[in-house]
Amino acid sequence: MMLRRELLKGNTEALLLSLLANGPKYGYQIVKELERRSGGYFSFREGTLYPALHRMERAGLVEGRWEPSPSGQMRRYYYITDKGRRQLEVLQREWRAFTRAVSLVILPEQA
């Protein structure tokens, strides 16, 4: 569980940008979507999610906008920016290189 939390922490930016690349979402939707797409493997705590989103907003990677949700309640939707898309491409490239390198070492029979 500890290892999973560390992995999540180290890849928060890549995970959030990947989720937002498919369309704008508000915090609760992000939590649910991450749980769904990771098959329940990852789960964001709010204390991690919102500081990360705000940090990325300050860095210009995402942009928050208050908009009505389908139920009519106002929610803060996060949109990925052009800078965020470029950053996501960099992170994806890095991730591919990293996982390949790790696999070569710890799973040599599958490499």
Binding site: Y26, G27, Y28, R45, E46, G47, T48, Y50, P51, H54, R55, R58, Q73, M74, R75, R76
Partner: protein, 311 residues
């Protein structure tokens, strides 16, 4: 909202210590999240109270959430940190070139700091403005102290049967202006405390150095090295300010100021006097300790006052 949720958000509001607009936005966003989590729990068949309780537990400890959000919003970029430290650099330069010999220059720079502070304050209090506010405060504080000294001296002359240099009308005029000055300074201090007492500490950082500088240049012919010493002292304050603004953790910020300011003051005072137990050294150290202790103490007092009025 249930009492547990109200208590959680009240706790969070007190701990956030961000710009008022940002605090409102963060709380609104987290409240919306709590609503969604609660609705999810109720859809699964939980009673409302239990759903809220579980949603709050999932949010995490208010102290930790506040710490993370503070670290996110308080840390500034290098250019912004440099802008915050800029007035200390200018103060150091003034001492280096012995600029105190030209009162119009010192007065002009303090007036400029006041103008920048006022304009920035009206545009939403950017984080870099607090050191500028410190220099804006220096002018009324110095005028107030000088006013008190003139009035007390004048009263002594009158009681002792001597002729007061300013005469009665002048003394009364200065005495009458002192409450206005005190009110002005108190208003600024209160506004700083409303945002975060640490900003008041940052604003007051140059005061120990200003005190040593004042003591040094009361000499009719200050030694040639004194300008360089004071410039170094202000460079130290600029370094402290830069470090403060580049750190995200509030705890680290407090430690940097709590250790850095007394050490810097001690170094300057010892270099100046050749020993700590000189009146100037002791006074500067007392001012440094006051700069560190006064803001949290005032914050506690002002917080209690506000809660009392709200009740």
């Amino acid at each position: 909202m249930l009492p547990e949720a109200r208590a959680y958000f009240r706790d969070l509001r007190q701990r956030l210590r961000l710009a008022p607009g940002k605090v409102q936005e963060v709380l609104r966003e987290l409240e919306a999240h709590l609503e969604d989590r609660t609705a999810e729990g109720m859809e699964k068949g939980l009673p409302r109270e239990e759903a809220v309780r579980r949603a709050l537990a999932a949010m995490g400890d208010a102290r930790l959430v506040a710490q993370e959000l503070y670290a996110t919003h308080a840390r500034v970029s290098w250019p912004t940190a440099a802008l915050a430290a800029f007035p200390h650099g200018v103060a150091g330069l003034v001492f280096l070139v012995q600029g105190w010999r030209w009162p119009w220059l010192v007065g002009g720079l303090l007036a400029l700091a006041t103008l920048v502070s006022l304009l920035s304050w009206r545009r939403g209090q950017p984080l870099w403005v607090y050191p500028w506010v410190g220099y804006a405060l220096a002018l009324p504080v110095a005028a107030g102290l000088a006013g008190v000294a003139i009035v007390v001296g004048g009263m002594r002359d009158i009681v002792g049967g001597r002729v007061a240099p300013l005469g009665h009308p002048g003394l009364w005029a200065i005495a009458a202006s002192l409450p206005g000055l005190a009110w002005g300074v108190a208003t600024i201090v209160r506004r700083l405390l409303d945002r975060d007492w640490l900003h008041l500490t940052v604003a007051l950082l140059p005061f120990p150095s200003l005190g040593i500088g004042w003591a040094l240049f009361r000499w009719p012919d200050p030694p040639a090295w004194s300008g360089g010493l004071m410039a170094l002292s202000f460079l130290g304050v600029a370094g402290l300010t830069l470090t403060f603004y580049r750190l995200g953790s509030r705890t680290l910020r407090v430690w940097v100021l709590a250790l850095g300011l007394p050490l810097l003051t001690l170094y300057t005072a010892i270099t100046y006097t050749g020993g700590l137990l000189s009146p100037t050294g002791v006074t500067a150290l007392v001012v440094a300790i006051a700069v560190l202790l006064l803001p949290p103490w005032l914050d506690g007092w002002w917080g209690r006052e506000k809660r009392h009025r709200a009740a």
